[in-house]
């Protein structure tokens, strides 16, 4: 298998892999009283 074919396979695998759950992190400010 050529390097080009390997690269194409990896790209397709990466794009079609069942993705794990993502996350969103929001910056926040807490004030203590």
């Amino acid at each position: 298998m050529s390097l080009r074919s390997l690269a194409l396979s990896a790209l397709l695998a990466g794009l079609s892999a069942p993705s794990l759950a993502g996350s969103i992190t929001l910056q926040a400010t807490v004030r203590d009283f």
Partner: protein, 218 residues
């Protein structure tokens, strides 16, 4: 004066839900504007103005973050769930003799691109106010047990593809529980984090393609 020592509005022994405690439009400085009549849970506008503003001798400010995790891979639904939301135990003024650091406010500001079908569900205590596009869309003011509210963004008259402000305000004011649950399909512009495995495969592919192209041109 009652209260937690630093501020009369915190643990002043009242338990009362108050709708309309802030105005329906966010202030020019992106803070909620006091709109309540004096009650057992709200004193004055001047006191309220200290909740979300640095005030020497009254509050201490601590930077933190809130991470919402996707509920199922690819679902586009993100959730933060914490039935004991005490992010500053032992920090700021300390726990003041209590098991947890109960008296605090939290605010976060972000933006998002509106897509039809987006929703926001919230459950928590005590006060929660959420503004989208500068308009109050969740109004759970007062000292109270956990309460829930939902927003279907399709009802807000937003334009698909446009970017809007999101401003969130929370206060924990009572020596009991602190619940915080936010579930949303809003894709905040702070960015989703792709999972590393598939990202690595794509990176590997790009490197491989580059090497293959370089070899081919020799």
């Amino acid at each position: 004066m009652v209260g937690c020592g630093n501020h009369v509005d915190f643990d002043n022994n009242g338990v009362l839900s108050v709708a309309g405690a802030v105005k329906s439009t966010i202030g020019a400085d992106r803070k909620p504007v006091f709109n309540a009549s004096p009650s057992s849970v709200f004193s004055t506008a001047a006191n309220f103005d200290q909740w979300y503003r640095d005030t020497a001798g009254v509050n201490r400010t601590i930077a933190t973050s809130l991470t919402l995790n996707e509920t199922a891979p690819g679902s586009g639904m993100y959730e933060y769930l914490n039935s004991a939301y005490f992010p500053i135990d032992g920090q700021g003024w300390g726990n003041q003799g209590n098991a947890r650091n109960y008296h605090f406010t939290m605010e976060l500001h972000s933006s998002f691109t509106y897509r039809p079908g987006q929703t926001l569900n919230f459950t928590g205590d005590d006060d929660v106010w959420v503004f989208i596009d500068d308009r109050l869309v969740i109004d759970l003011g007062g000292i109270h047990p956990a309460q829930s509210a939902s927003v279907n963004l399709d009802t807000l008259g937003l334009t698909a593809g446009q970017t809007y402000a999101f401003d969130f305000f929370f206060a924990e004011r009572h020596l009991t529980q602190s619940n915080l649950r936010m579930q949303t399909s809003i894709d905040f512009n702070s960015g989703t984090v792709p999972e590393p495995a598939s990202l690595g495969l794509v990176a590997l592919a790009l490197v491989g393609a580059g090497v293959a192209r370089r070899r081919a041109t020799r």
